[in-house]
Symmetry: C2
Subunit: 775 residues, 2 copies
């Protein structure tokens, strides 16, 4: 079996103990792809089954469902989507409210001290409050729910691909994610809240689907329809769409994000439910905006939910504005891929540090916090004070937290432009950068300093052990770089600098995250101006093309670094040269249609396999015939229920009445029973179980001569967990082996056929690294 | 074989003669699903193969491809997308320009005559010009390209599902579609131009991919990579996205439309290429708008390309506006499903009329044209003249073609509100309905008359033998009904009547076309106001939900009426009760690995099958072994090339050098060689062919005990044309049968198992008609 252990017995957290086991059917030479590094612990990863599992028991249960049950199912589906939308939007509002008020109070207090020239005291208050907030976020993350660290988007994306990382949807992860994200963002770390919102949305969806947490589960009978991987996956998809919708007030963008970036399988019906979920989010947010605009939300209201709504005026641009926009796209692509490269490297270094001890993690987070505080407070002193413009539409210098003209250390009538950007919340900085009619407000040197700071600070901030998103840092970095380009182009362009900032943000997002339609719609919904559309499309296309020539998208890199066995859509070129038979290895464990209990117990104890072929052998049939495949979880349930026969005689269909489909329903992620917990007497061990009613009699199978590339397409498109391999010549045993997700991982295949490594690289070099993704 | 014949030998058009044959492997009891009624002729429909066809020859060709070929392929892919975008946008511009100028001149001339009170003459000019334009459109459609009639969206949607209706992508269809659409829309028929634009885009994409038409094909070597169904399908998807983008100036909406409504398979990479295509469209359109705004486009410029850009101002609405919006959604859903129901019935009656003779078709079109002219000219006399408002922002009454205040028969200083709507181009009518600050401009009675006229006229106009879209009629009908609701709600609402018109259009679109995200984005891009988003989402969700309770979406109904064997995503409930073995019937034709020429010729002549299993039998192997599947087209090519062996001895790999993959490449739709055209001598008939190198050795297969529902999922998700059925017990022949698309059609299955009909209806009644689509 894999190199993963079932967890160090000394660790306190239960998610590493309760995780289920790997689904690989045989020993895998190269086990790196199967082990996830969550926090600093090595945990095995379960894979999921999106195929319909059809055994006689489930079929009978399905046939017995009447009008009422089907109506229940439909109602529950839509009710759950409604609840997901409602709860996610409420969380989004609370999140925004808390961040704006926490960070707001901090900046107001500090600014007031600086007005009185108590600079030392101001720095102390600023850095200590940041330190405390970061410490709090990192302590709860490290000790309570390590799975809540980071953005969460890679984990959810992997889940939707069929990789169930341990603990990502537990209730403690949810709470830590929400609270940790609020304190991390409030602590002026350069981290975003969109990624954590996506994870929060997915978490809420998963918990709602399984009816609360595994411990405090509500026993809602109506939810029994959702105790399978397929329905849970659909809910999680809707949840992640709701997350983006709530974070950016971008309902259409949220649906498209879930579709383009998150989901590995997609149906048109799901589009509609995701759309419904985000519509609920949009309407609830709209109601809260009405409420907050009337000033009932404290410091919140001018910022936060009302995103960067700064472009209601008409913009005119012509074809001669295209060259600078193209340049913006090219540079954005290069910077984006550089960003991905550096982030990946820094993350790997951080993992080495974090692996050692839980205190290392917290220490690292504190260090980054202090460093950030020093930079944010120290850098504005480098900028020279600028005279307030006479025609300023708002007070200059601004007294308080928001506004374009921060006073900082400047005398009255002057403002510090770098402080307006850097000594501010990220949302306000973006708003300042995006706003039009501010072409003369910022000096190039300030924007340059701001850009460099953001670029590196966001790389170093992401890996700390706290919930941390990437969207906002990328947007703020891209906006500053875009504004810089706008300054360089100067008056040769019809576009104002704010527009350049928007396009810069788009290009950097495109270069780093490599989405197209969804980013385009999100940016449109953020800036609320459809006239920008052609330019944004252009810039996204160019930056994605350029960046794809260098490396993969940021979430894929993080997934790879975490070791998730993510199944790609496209087959690698060398897979066309192999057949399925070439990668099937190892001894195969089979069961008879009516199997002895002691055999089952022995096989379950000695192997870690998750699925077993069931064969009808000569006493029961003329020749060995493949009957189907049975799951480990179902076998354990059968053993637990002690549904034994005294003789090797098939039972009738009536005997199924003692079972209910619910006993065999899939539980929440990673909390099944274990074979070690089941005690059986000597007598019971000698009895038999009729496996037929519990066996999936319609397993997908391929002939061993099938090309590996085509088997992968089947495996991926239909969403399988096990794929049976049957022999070409019919005289041998009726099944040759089982393929699982891990068998399709390039590491595994190249481990078995090292000669292909050369041809693989040859291919890859021809197409340039990862250009394979383009088509 | 199916009930379809290969075409009446007396017809002139070659597309009905050159069509390829049905892919069914055996006789199908119920053949209604396999025959399309295109125009009035019965033509067999070919199905397409989206699976990768892997035989030794193709593999070797693929292996021999170097750096250069792969680069060529990538470049061609993007170049083709660029060309599609460019050409489609140019066609879109020309289309708009022509319509605006033709219809504009007509209205200006008529209005001038009416100014001089020459009403009789005005009616004559109006109706005769309409008559001539309609006659022209229907004559070219009926005689040159019957496949160009109607919207074309159902045909393209069916193509992307794998159904190749004859002649839909020929060059003459393209020309007739463009010219016919211009004259039909200019002739004041209530038909749209968006549907024809989608078909035009798909047609351009398909023709570009195959390098021009089949007759005048450019022999471009670079295009050889695109001579397969998969790449052509991708291009057609991009083309249909470009069509919507060009028709509505909605690039993001176009991509989403292609994704949500058109495509049956979708990959993330395709999203990007479709996005690129529509970005090209957006940029080219933008350039032309710049050009036309400077007044160089004749009467064109104020209308047409600049869609209903009437909402740049801020709109405020609150939660108490939600009830009327909900009501709008419910009524829109009911009206939409009624619309679909009536349209379907009228289409079936029209088909009966049109079937009889080609002159019937033209007569029907002329009748509709005269009827339309009478209504458009007659109805405004019913409306009373209204005093021009004193604060009107434009001249009142309007002299000329455009504008809100048509004079019609009214005295100076007065205007006819019904004429402003009805005696106008559809685009201008929509613009008038959508515009804000016009709450007192229209009387309820006029809007009611307009609504009823549009509702029924559009139903009667769609089926005429001319290119005719549904989008614009549905929008104009929906807008008038929305405005009516706005008037009823009156001052109790914060929303103005123009906004109600927008929401009404959305609800009617949702009720009739049943899209969500794409319609939402298209409406946003049309009206250019993102603040409407939550309301539009709400109205679309409600109207789609209500309408889905009654019937299916309009395009699916049309596809069903045309008899396309469209493969649905979801399996019908009764399919879970059947196994694959239950529907495999009829004698199976097999070939030996090395087969006698006379046998091949005999089988090809006596059957219409499109794929044949290849078996290695005892002389060549120990026991009968399934080697793979070979296509009829490849067999014919082999016979044509006379690649024969004198003895039954396998050839080496070297013999492949005499073949090139290009000989076996898929041609354009429906123009393969026929077995009857190949002449062979007696001597040649006694020779052998080694089929191994040309056989797909990796066919997808299922065991006969596989549940039908799961086989359908495999068939649908992987995009197959043939699915082999292998026996459960290994002692029998290595293959039991072949499943094709037609075997999965409900009509076929229920024909074989009539007992299921009852259970099927039971299920459907429980879930309400077609509620199965909801999930």
């Amino acid at each position: 079996m894999s190199g993963g252990t079932t967890g160090d017995p000394n660790v306190e957290e239960d998610q590493s103990i309760t995780v289920s086991l790997l689904s690989a059917q045989r020993s895998v030479p190269n086990s790196t792809s199967q082990v996830a590094i969550v926090g600093a612990k090595v945990c095995p990863i379960e894979s999921l089954d999106y195929e319909i599992f059809e055994n006689e028991l489930f079929k009978q249960d399905w046939r017995s469902q009447g009008k009422l049950q089907i109506l229940q199912y439909i109602c529950m589906k839509w009710l759950l989507c409604f609840l997901i939308g409602l709860i996610v939007s409420l969380v989004g509002v609370c999140n925004n409210l808390a961040v704006e008020n926490l960070a707001g109070v901090k900046f107001v207090v500090t600014s007031n001290m600086m007005l009185e020239s108590r600079y030392g005291m101001a720095f102390l208050v600023f850095s200590v409050s940041n330190f405390v907030l970061t410490l709090f976020a990192s302590i709860i993350t490290a000790f309570i729910a390590p799975a809540a660290a980071g953005s969460g988007i890679p984990e959810v994306k992997a889940y939707l691909n069929g990789v169930d990382a341990p603990g990502i949807f537990s209730i403690r992860t949810l709470f830590v994610k929400i609270i940790g994200s609020i304190s991390a963002v409030s602590s002026s770390l350069l981290v975003g809240k969109a990624g954590p919102m996506v994870h929060t949305g997915a978490c809420i969806a998963s918990l709602l689907g399984q009816g609360g947490s595994k411990k405090y589960r509500l026993t809602c009978k109506w939810l029994r329809f959702f105790k399978n991987d397929r329905d849970r996956r659909d809910l999680v998809t809707c949840g992640s769409a709701a997350g983006i919708a709530a974070a950016f007030r971008a309902p259409v963008g949220g649906v498209l994000f879930a579709l383009e970036e998150m989901a590995s399988w997609w149906r048109s019906a799901l589009l509609w439910r995701a759309f419904f979920t985000t519509a609920v989010v949009a309407i609830v947010l709209r109601a809260f905006i009405d409420l907050c605009l009337s000033g009932k939300c404290g410091l919140f209201g001018t910022g936060g939910l009302i995103m960067f709504d700064v472009y209601s005026a008409n913009i005119s641009y012509h074809l001669d504005d295209v060259p600078p926009v193209l340049a913006l796209g090219v540079i954005g692509g290069i910077l984006g891929s550089l960003y991905n490269f550096l982030l990946d490297k820094v993350l790997r270094i951080y993992t080495l540090i974090n692996e050692k001890s839980i205190y290392n993690k917290i220490f690292l987070a504190c260090l980054i916090s202090i460093f950030t505080s020093c930079l944010l407070f120290g850098l504005p002193w480098l900028a020279s004070c600028r005279l307030c413009p006479l025609d300023a539409t708002e007070a200059c210098p601004t007294i308080g937290r928001s506004g374009n003209y921060k006073k900082f250390q400047c005398p009255p009538g002057y403002y510090n432009d770098l402080a307006s950007l850097i000594f501010n919340t990220n949302d306000d900085a973006i708003r300042n950068l995006f706003s039009k009619g501010t072409d003369s407000e910022f000096q190039p040197s300030s924007v340059l300093i701001f850009f460099i700071t953001c670029f590196f600070l966001s790389i170093f901030s992401y890996g700390v052990v706290a919930p941390a998103g990437l969207f906002v840092p990328v947007i703020v970095t891209g906006a500053s770089y875009g504004r810089l380009v706008g300054m360089l182009v100067g008056s040769r362009s019809n576009l104002n600098h704010g527009l350049y900032a928007v396009l810069g943000a788009a290009s950097f997002l495109g270069g780093s995250m490599r989405m197209t339609v969804s980013l385009c719609v999100i940016i449109l919904e953020l800036t609320n101006n459809l006239l920008l559309l052609p330019l944004i499309m252009l810039v996204l296309l160019v930056s994605k093309t350029v960046a794809d020539a260098f490396n993969g998208n940021i979430y894929d890199l993080i997934m790879k670094a975490k070791g998730f066995p993510y199944l790609e859509t496209h087959a690698e070129p060398y897979m066309r040269q192999l057949t399925v038979g070439d990668i099937v290895t190892g001894p195969l464990q089979l069961f008879n249609g009516i199997e002895k209990v002691s055999n089952i117990v022995h096989v379950l104890r000695t192997t870690k396999h998750n699925g077993f072929p069931v064969i009808d052998e000569p006493p029961l049939s003329e020749s060995p015939v493949l009957f189907g495949i049975i799951l480990r979880a179902h076998l354990i349930t059968l053993l637990k229920m002690k549904a034994f026969l005294s003789t090797q005689v098939p039972t009738g269909i009536d005997s199924l009445n003692q079972f209910s489909a619910e006993d065999f329903a899939k539980r929440g992620s990673g909390n099944g029973d274990k074979i070690e917990d089941i005690g059986l007497t000597e007598e019971e061990m000698e009895m038999f179980i009729d496996l037929h009613p519990f066996t999936n009699a319609s397993p997908y199978a391929v002939v061993e001569t099938m090309s590996l590339a085509k088997a992968l397409i089947l495996f991926r498109e239909v969403g399988l967990r096990h794929l049976l391999v049957i022999p070409k010549i019919s005289l041998r045993a009726p099944v040759v082996g089982i393929l699982t997700r891990h068998d399709f991982m390039p590491e595994h295949i190249l481990g078995l056929h090292p000669v292909l490594v050369r041809s693989r690289w040859k291919r890859l070099r021809i197409r340039f690294p990862s250009w394979g993704k383009i088509f």
